[in-house]
Structure formats: structure tokens, C-alpha cells
């Protein structure tokens, strides 16, 4: 009987997600209709752009890997209700770390170069999260505001590095020259193009899940998230765990940035963070911070993102449409959850 109840709960949960998705897709259809576009064509592009060919699959991977890692960078501090909206800046610092190592130690062989690059990018990302973490620890400054402010500082820092001694003078846009090829992430498959990044991105949520739900420290993170004060009263050092979770998040975001440099851009580019941060927040919140759920919602958001680009290319629909749809998706899921709970 207990099992049944659990099954019912899961079914209800899945149902609320499906309702949320349906509502968001319906909204997309209405907007397409209002723009005078072919709604059916839009839907088919939206859902098929990620698959169907090896090229599409490669495009999917390119977007999926950073989104997944960025979502985890948000999800881990979310376990104790800390909002790491600074994952954008931490991502950029990771990228800066990657090019710094690549240009300063340019003669390293690949075997040493790649691990070093990954470690450096994680360390730079963690370093960037360390400031808000310390402000939280010492002064209890709200992390939403402090991490966001660090983002803006990082934008100018990237601009400074991209226009500094390593700049590519022939590019029309602030960016550095390409990093030495020893630092490129090893390619595992060429068609579809898959490199080491995908492996790391798939292992990361599994490790995160284990950490949060099976380890002692994860227990304490969850306890702090459930009731910070009660956790503190019973010996959990929430005051230290919360800043620490931000630093862990920073390391993961930094890793994402480093992999973006070493696996895709091969250089530091102004604006390379794209809209990853906003999307990662939506992905993580849809999954309520559960790392396994993050895999599913990251896949879904990536599919919609690529669908949006395809609709833009084929049908001339503004790309911002999907951005609105993604936010609506989260809001609809929140709504569906409330109504599901009230029904019971």
C-alpha cells in the first residue's frame, strides 16, 4: 500500500510537469499564430531540431553540456535555499582561467595540459564565488545581490583580458587568439562531434545526486535548506555550509566555462556566456534542484532552444520567443503544482 502511494505521488508529479509543458507549448502556438506563422510547422521544428541528423545531435551537445553544468552550479546551493545567480560570472572566470593557463604554460604536453586547464577553470570559478561566500559568512550579505554584482564585474574583466596582450587583432570582436592545440578537449567521436565534455557533463549530475542525497554532508545541506535554524541548533554548521555550497557551485560553473573554451570556442570571447545563466536557473528551478531531474529538464530546454533557432532560421520567428516560453514553462509548472496539491 505504501508503494502504491509513492507511485501515485510520482504519477501526480509527472502529470503536473506534462500539464506545465502542454500549457507552455500552447502559449507558444498562440504566439506563433498571432505572428501569422504556420503553427504546425513551428511545432515540428521546435521538437525535431535537436535530433534527426548527426549535425543536429552535435548542436544539441554543444548547448546541452554547458547548460547542464551551469544548472548544477545553481542547483547545489539551492539545496540549502541559496540562489547562486552568479554562475554566469563564475563561468566567465573559468574561461579566463582556461586561457590564462593555456597562454602562460603554452608548451605543456596534452596529457598535463588538459587536466591543468580543467583544474584551473574550476579554481577560478570557485575563486569568483569566494567573495560572495565570504560576504555571506562574515556579514550575512544576501547572496543573490552579491553574486549578481560579481557577474557585472566579470563582464568587464573578460573585456579587459580579451582586449589585452592575448587579443586577436584580426577579429572584429573582443576575443583572444586560439589557445595552443594541446589544451583542446580530446574528441571522442567526430560525427556527431562529441568530446570529453559530454562525459564530464553526464557524470557530474550523478555525482551531485550522490553527494546531496547519500552523503553525510549532503544530509546537512538538505537539513539547512529545510530549516536553517533547526539544523544549526542541532549541530549543523549552516553558517559555513552555505558559503561552501556557493564555492562548489562556482567550481562547477568555472569548469563549464573552461570546457566551453577548450571544447568549443578555443578562445576567450566577449559574450561567450550567451544566455546560459538565465536558462540554467530555469532548468534547476523546474527540477526543484534535484540533479537527476536537472538532466531531464536540461534536455528539454536544450531541445526548445535549438527549436527556437531553427524557427528563426526557417520561419523568421524572433529567437526571443522561446526565451519567453521557457520562463512561462517554469511558471506554469509552479501553477500546476499548486493546483495539484489543492485538488488533494
Amino acid at each position: 500500500m505504501n508503494k502504491d502511494k509513492k507511485g501515485d505521488k510520482l504519477a501526480a508529479q509527472v502529470a503536473t510537469y506534462l500539464i506545465g509543458v502542454a500549457a507552455a507549448l500552447a502559449a507558444a502556438g498562440v504566439m506563433l499564430g498571432l505572428l501569422g506563422k504556420n503553427v504546425a510547422e513551428g511545432y515540428s521544428l521546435l521538437l525535431t531540431a535537436s535530433f534527426g541528423s548527426a549535425t543536429n545531435l552535435s548542436l544539441f551537445t554543444i548547448k546541452f553540456v554547458p547548460l547542464l553544468l551551469m544548472s548544477l552550479a545553481f542547483a547545489i546551493p539551492l539545496t540549502l535555499k541559496k540562489y547562486n545567480v552568479g554562475n554566469e560570472g563564475q563561468f566567465l572566470l573559468g574561461a579566463v582561467g582556461a586561457v590564462t593557463v593555456a597562454f602562460m604554460l603554452s608548451s605543456l604536453p596534452a596529457l598535463a595540459a588538459i587536466p591543468l586547464l580543467l583544474i584551473a577553470s574550476a579554481a577560478f570559478g570557485a575563486f569568483w564565488a569566494l567573495f560572495p561566500a565570504l560576504m555571506l559568512y562574515k556579514f550575512r550579505v544576501n547572496e543573490i545581490v552579491s553574486t549578481i554584482l560579481m557577474n557585472f564585474i566579470s563582464f568587464y574583466l573578460v573585456l579587459y583580458v580579451a582586449t589585452g596582450p592575448w587579443r586577436d587583432p584580426f577579429a572584429g570582436h573582443p576575443e583572444t587568439q586560439a589557445i595552443p592545440s594541446a589544451f583542446d578537449l580530446p574528441v571522442l567521436l567526430t560525427n556527431p562531434a562529441i568530446n570529453l565534455g559530454l562525459v564530464i557533463a553526464v557524470l557530474a549530475p550523478l555525482a551531485s545526486y550522490y553527494y546531496i542525497f547519500r552523503s553525510v554532508q549532503g544530509f546537512e545541506l538538505r537539513a539547512s535548506g529545510a530549516n536553517e535554524r533547526a539544523a544549526l541548533v542541532f549541530g549543523v554548521n549552516s553558517n559555513l555550509l552555505a558559503p561552501m555550497s556557493l564555492v562548489i557551485g562556482g567550481a562547477i560553473a568555472g569548469l563549464a566555462g573552461g570546457m566551453e573554451v577548450a571544447g568549443l570556442q578555443l578562445r576567450l570571447v566577449d559574450g561567450m556566456q550567451s544566455n546560459y545563466a538565465a536558462l540554467s536557473i530555469i532548468i534547476a528551478l523546474i527540477a526543484y534542484g534535484n540533479p537527476l531531474g536537472v538532466i531531464v529538464s536540461a534536455i528539454f530546454i536544450t531541445v526548445i532552444e535549438l527549436g527556437g533557432s531553427a524557427m528563426n532560421a526557417v520561419m523568421g520567428v524572433p529567437v526571443e520567443l522561446v526565451y519567453v516560453i521557457e520562463a512561462l514553462l517554469l511558471l506554469f509548472i509552479l501553477m500546476a503544482n499548486v493546483f495539484e496539491r489543492r485538488r488533494r
Binding site: V216, A223, A226, A230, A231, V233, G235, V236
Partner: protein, 514 residues
């Protein structure tokens, strides 16, 4: 003056989920009389009055005011019908001044047209002896003064019906007497007063009519003249079982406890309150193994800070706290717990429960590091589940599974979880702060017996409580705190409620021959 029926409630039913909290209750309020609403915690007294005050909506039943049926959907409706309520937990905005609190929600003017109002409040305060500093921020006032603000606030609205929910629970016996006097005077002036309580003695001293609730039903309706304490207790309990510890009277003098080894020794401990002034000042205390030391005092006199300093949740500013000779002030909470110190915090929702986690996780909280529940890195979920199941059975926690979320449990069951957590293993020492608040008589009895069992197992117990009856029933000694200082210590066998009450109000114990 002829008694006029102001309110008649008929067939009131209220459900919370599957629980029938009120089972078709009838209740009437007459002007000029004090109506006691007597019952255990959870009997439905407050729920019934919350329905009348528009905070809850009844599922069935009707409310008549002066003979006319009225729908009371919000407190605004109730206030319009001149029904006012003083809640057990004060409803005051702590960042506002007393006067701002009294003014709140009364006027719609664009300016503070407050002079007339102020004079009115001052005259009410004089008439009923409820003096209070109108311009002080409420958070700076002691509990007794906050209650006076609360009462002035409702009286300023000229109520016909005044509901008071457990108004004496955080007062000294002397303050309570003053309040009961004021209530009598209010009734003499024609108000219909409803007095919610679970204390039989208070009912006998103040009420005109008594309605006893049990399990959401009316168990009896009597005039004070035709009732006796014993009869009322029977009605409250629904004729169940033997008299519990509380009714057994104060602990007799004991010599065995005085011979135990000292467990916890506090030497001139001072604790800051976080707001400059220290909340605990120069306290010296010793609790022996096999002894329950009761700590009496009006809430807010340093009890919480004292408990948290022992648990190292808060740092003692100076002094030494030793358990079995080991200095605690240099440890952290985790280390204190792993030394075998159990803790039942005062605020179970705020400081105790993890609502979105499972019952098993809640019970293990604080010992997740111990080798019985984890290796260095990973949790041992099987062991956690087994220990939790034992707790659920031992303390009769009503749930379908230890994997259920704690957030869905009732207040009483939440308290049982905290007790199961504290007693996961035999304690060396136990700090229990208001461990029975909000529990019904049977559960209270169970908790108090558990404390005694821990003590008999050799633990030293520090029982902090606002309920003097409870303290006198189980403590071997009682120490009284006032403004963070120890006013004196009384030995079992010589407890005197009024002597302790005087100490709670700040009178140092006379240095007697002992």
C-alpha cells in the same frame, strides 16, 4: 441588569483534512458573565473561538449575534460585531510602538488623528490597572507589558465580547491575579468574556459558567457553583485512565538525588542577547546525575539563552560550563551532542523540525555523523530507518511510514519527534525547554515520564518550563530566573507557588536558615 445573550453558536463543525476538530459544538455568550472554555490542548477550544473571530471558517453550523444569524468570514466582520480576541501568542508588530499597535486597523483618516484615541487608551489603562509605556517599541517590552498592550488594543475597540486565549500562561502567579481581577471588572461592566484555559484552578476562581470540551465535543456544561476540580478534570479527560503525574502533586523531598555526582556545572556564566545587554548574568548552577533541576521564570528572562549556551548554539560571553569536568564553551554544538547531551528546544517549529525531510531524517538529525548512522562519507540509511522506527513506536508517532515528510504532522506529533530525537540514546545530560507545550494530557504525561526515566537512568536533566505545576511535579529542585539572574533555588518538598511567583517577578529568595 438583565443578562443578554450576545452570541449563540449552534452545531459548529470544522474539519482539518481528515480530522474533525469540532464536532457540532453549541456555545453561548452572555453579557456580564465570564464563560470558561476548558479543555486539554487539542480539544478544540481555540478552534471554536477562531471560528467566532472569523479566522477559521466553519464547515457547518450557524452563528447568531443578538438573535440574528450572521456570517463572520474575517476578523473584520467579527470586529464590526464588536467581538475581540486576545490570542495566546501575542498579535503585536514588534517594530511598532505600543500606541501604533493599539491604533492599528482602527481608523481610516489621512492623518494621525490620534489625540482622542490616546486619551481613551490612557483612561482604559487607568481604569483596569493596565499601565504600559505607549511610546516604547513593543520588542523592547517585557512579556507582561506586551500582554497589557494586547488587552488595551482590543479594549480600545469597545468590544461587547472579549475572548482571551490562555491569557495567564506566561505570567507570574501575582501578575495572573491582577489580570483575573481586571477580567472580573470587565464582566461587571457588562462584557461577555470567554476565558480559554486548560487550568482547572483558574476556572474555579474566575468563571461563572463552564463549558468543557473534549476531542472537539462538548463534554459538559456547568455552573461554577455545581462543579468541583475533580469533576472538571474527569470531563476534560473524558473519564480516561489514572491521574497523571501532573495531578499527583509536587515531588516529595528526596535525598537520593542530592547524592549524585555533579553532571553540569555552570560557574558565573554570562550570555549576550545579541542586542548589547546580556541575557544571562553571572549564573552559577550545578545539576547532578540522577536529578531534574527545574528552571522557572517568565518567558524571555534568559531561559533560551541559557539553554543555547549549554548547547553551544550561542557562545557564553564569560564563565565556565562543564559537563563531567569537560569544558563545553570551547566545543561546538556537534561535539556537545556527541558527548551525549540531548536537547529539546523551545520553539519546535522554528528550532526543531525539518518540515520537508522525512521522519527518519528528522529523528537522526544531530547524530548523522555518529558511526551508527554513517561511515566517514556516506549515510547508512538502513540504520537510520531502523532507529527511526524504534522512535516512532516508542513515542507513538502517528504516521504511515518513517519515510513520510515531517511537515504533514500535527504539533503534538512534531513534539514527539523532537523527543525521539533527544532520546535516541540514553543521555548523559538533557536540556528540555518547554517540552510539553501544546501536548494533551496523555502526551504530556508520557513526556514527563520519559524525563523521569532519563533521570533514573543516570542523566542530569535541566527542565526549563513556564508551567509551574509541571515543574513542581517532577523537579528535584527548582531555580528561578529573572532578567538572566538566579533569584534562588527551592528544594522539593518545600515548593510554594507564591514564593516562586515572587521570585519570578524579581524578588530574591530570602537567605533562610538553610
Amino acid at each position: 441588569m438583565p443578562a443578554e445573550e450576545l452570541v449563540r453558536m449552534t452545531g459548529i463543525a470544522k474539519r482539518f483534512g481528515d480530522v474533525l476538530a469540532l464536532d457540532h459544538v453549541d456555545f453561548g455568550i452572555t453579557g456580564g458573565k465570564v464563560h470558561a472554555l476548558l479543555g486539554e490542548n487539542g480539544a478544540g477550544k481555540t478552534t471554536l473561538m477562531n471560528v467566532l473571530y472569523g479566522l477559521y471558517r466553519a464547515d457547518e453550523g450557524r452563528v447568531e449575534i443578538k438573535g440574528k444569524e450572521m456570517a463572520i468570514r474575517t476578523p473584520r466582520d467579527a470586529l464590526r460585531h464588536r467581538i475581540a480576541m486576545v490570542h495566546q501568542h501575542f498579535r503585536l508588530v514588534s517594530n511598532f510602538t505600543s500606541f501604533e499597535n493599539i491604533l492599528l486597523g482602527t481608523g481610516r483618516g489621512l492623518k494621525f488623528e490620534a489625540r482622542a484615541q490616546r486619551e481613551k487608551v490612557e483612561s482604559i489603562a487607568r481604569e483596569y490597572g493596565l499601565s504600559v509605556d505607549l511610546d516604547a517599541k513593543v520588542k523592547a517590552l517585557p512579556v507582561g507589558a506586551q500582554q497589557r498592550v494586547e488587552i488595551l488594543k482590543v479594549l480600545a475597540r469597545d468590544p461587547l465580547v472579549l475572548i482571551l486565549d490562555e491569557p495567564t500562561s506566561s505570567l507570574t502567579p501575582q501578575e495572573a491575579d491582577v489580570l483575573l481581577g481586571a477580567i472580573k471588572k470587565l464582566a461587571m461592566n457588562g462584557l461577555g468574556v470567554v476565558f480559554i484555559t486548560h487550568k482547572v484552578r483558574e476556572v474555579m476562581s474566575i468563571a461563572d459558567e463552564i463549558t468543557v470540551l473534549n476531542g472537539g465535543r462538548v463534554a459538559g456544561r456547568l455552573q461554577v457553583s455545581e462543579s468541583g476540580e475533580k469533576r472538571l478534570v474527569e470531563l476534560m479527560m473524558g473519564g480516561r485512565g489514572a491521574p497523571p503525574l501532573l495531578q499527583a502533586g509536587p515531588t516529595p523531598a528526596r535525598t537520593s538525588a542530592a547524592q549524585g555526582e555533579p553532571a553540569l556545572v555552570l560557574t558565573s556564566v554570562s550570555v549576550g542577547s545579541g542586542k548589547g545587554a546580556s541575557a544571562v548574568e553571572e549564573v552559577d548552577l550545578a545539576v547532578r546525575h540522577g536529578e531534574i533541576l527545574g528552571v522557572a521564570g517568565v518567558s524571555g528572562n534568559g531561559q533560551r539563552e541559557l539553554a543555547e549556551a549549554i548547547m553551544c548554539v550561542r557562545r557564553a560571553g564569560s564563565g565556565s560550563i562543564k559537563l563531567d569536568g569537560i569544558e563545553l564553551t570551547r566545543l561546538n554544538t556537534k561535539q556537545v551532542i556527541s558527548m551525549g547531551v540531548g536537547y529539546i528546544p523551545e520553539d519546535r517549529m522554528g528550532d526543531g523540525i525539518l518540515p520537508s525531510m522525512t521522519i527518519a531524517e528528522n529523528i537522526v538529525l544531530g547524530r548523522e555523523h555518529s558511526p551508527s548512522f554513517s561511515d566517514r562519507f556516506a549515510l547508512n540509511r538502513k540504520a537510520m530507518g531502523a532507529a527511526a522506527l524504534r522512535g516512532v513506536e516508542d513515542y507513538n508517532i502517528k504516521t504511515t511510514s518513517v519515510e513520510a515528510h515531517a511537515g504533514v504532522l500535527s504539533g503534538g506529533n512534531v513534539q514527539k519527534i523532537l523527543i525521539a530525537r533527544a532520546f535516541l540514546t540514553q543521555c548523559k545530560f538533557l536540556v528540555a525547554h518547554n517540552p510539553t507545550r501544546g501536548l494533551d494530557i496523555a502526551a504530556t504525561d508520557h513526556v514527563l515520564r520519559s524525563l523521569v526515566k532519563q533521570k533514573e537512568g543516570g542523566a542530569g536533566v535541566l527542565l526549563i518550563s513556564e508551567d509551574l505545576d509541571e515543574l513542581m511535579a517532577v523537579s528535584d529542585r527548582i531555580c528561578v530566573l529573572f532578567k538572566g539572574q538566579v533569584m534562588g533555588v527551592v528544594e522539593a518538598g518545600s515548593y510554594d507557588k507564591y514564593e516562586i511567583g515572587a521570585m519570578m517577578a524579581g524578588k530574591k529568595k530570602e537567605a533562610s536558615a538553610s
